[in-house]
Amino acid sequence: MEIGLVHYLTVGAVLFGLGLLTVMTRKNSVGILLGVELILNAAALNFIAFEHFVVGGLGGQVFTVFIIVLAAAEAAIALAIVLNVYRNYRSIMADRLTTLRN
């Protein structure tokens, strides 16, 4: 069995699906962040796979570097926000943060 583009796309799609499921079903804010990381990894894997098998050049790798950079920045900011939310509400479950409701 020769490993080709479709195999990598399948892995990327399943990774994306699991990330989407995590984001949609988790109540814990940190759990939602874990799902976002899964989605970003799936997108980056697709970039690299398309670059290797279809496009060539370096654009996919450059884009993936920026995905990694932005994911690091996003994680740092989001976790600072989560810490602040925990300090104010004593909980980080997303369904309990209802101050803005009504």
């Binding site: 990598y8 989407l20 949609m24 814990n28 690299i48 670059e51 279809v54 990694i68 920045a73």
Partner: protein
């Protein structure tokens, strides 16, 4: 006996997807966070098989060394130890699985029916070429990225610090 590259791909994708399933379905947030390690390592291995060796190393360094440590810090600082057993509850699993199935079917149909112009290349190391690209044609995005990281770092420090009042400020 399948070739070694196919075996390697199977092992790496199994590691990545199995760990991702633990992330998605574990009821303990610490197990979820630690399982993300397996996903990152599997994806890093797949980068290397796709001749993106620098990105594989970067993935291990930045994600495993930085992001995962940050996430574990946040878990330890926010989850209460006594209800650690169900620290990661889920809701709406049925509609979620339904929507994800639809999305996966759509993605699979697109990936299977599109005629990709596949052009098989040999796997070559690309770190030197990537470095040259970053210092020539991608110089401006590279600098903007470093400024973004600096801004995010300052912002995270400002957001996460505790407002400590010194003695002379309390009066």
């Amino acid at each position: 006996m399948p070739p070694i590259s196919s075996l390697l791909f199977l092992v790496l994708s199994g590691l990545a997807l199995g760990s991702a399933a633990v992330v998605a379905f574990s009821r303990n947030i610490i197990h979820s966070a630690l399982a993300l390690l397996g996903t990152f390592l599997g994806v890093a291995g797949m980068y290397i098989t796709l001749s993106a060796d620098f990105l594989g190393a970067t993935q291990v360094l930045v994600y495993v060394g930085g992001t995962l440590t940050l996430i574990l810090f946040a878990v330890m600082l926010t989850a209460r130890i006594e209800d650690m057993k169900v620290s990661n509850p889920t809701q709406g699993l049925g509609p979620g699985i339904g929507l994800v199935t639809v999305v996966l079917l759509l993605l699979g149909k697109v990936a299977a029916t599109t005629a990709w112009a596949i052009n098989v290349r040999p796997s070559n190391p690309s770190t030197a070429k990537l470095g040259h690209a970053f210092l020539t044609s991608y110089l401006l995005p590279f600098e903007v990225g470093s400024v973004v990281l600096l801004a995010a770092m300052i912002g995270a420090v400002v957001l996460a610090r505790r407002a400590v009042k010194r003695e002379w400020e309390k009066e």
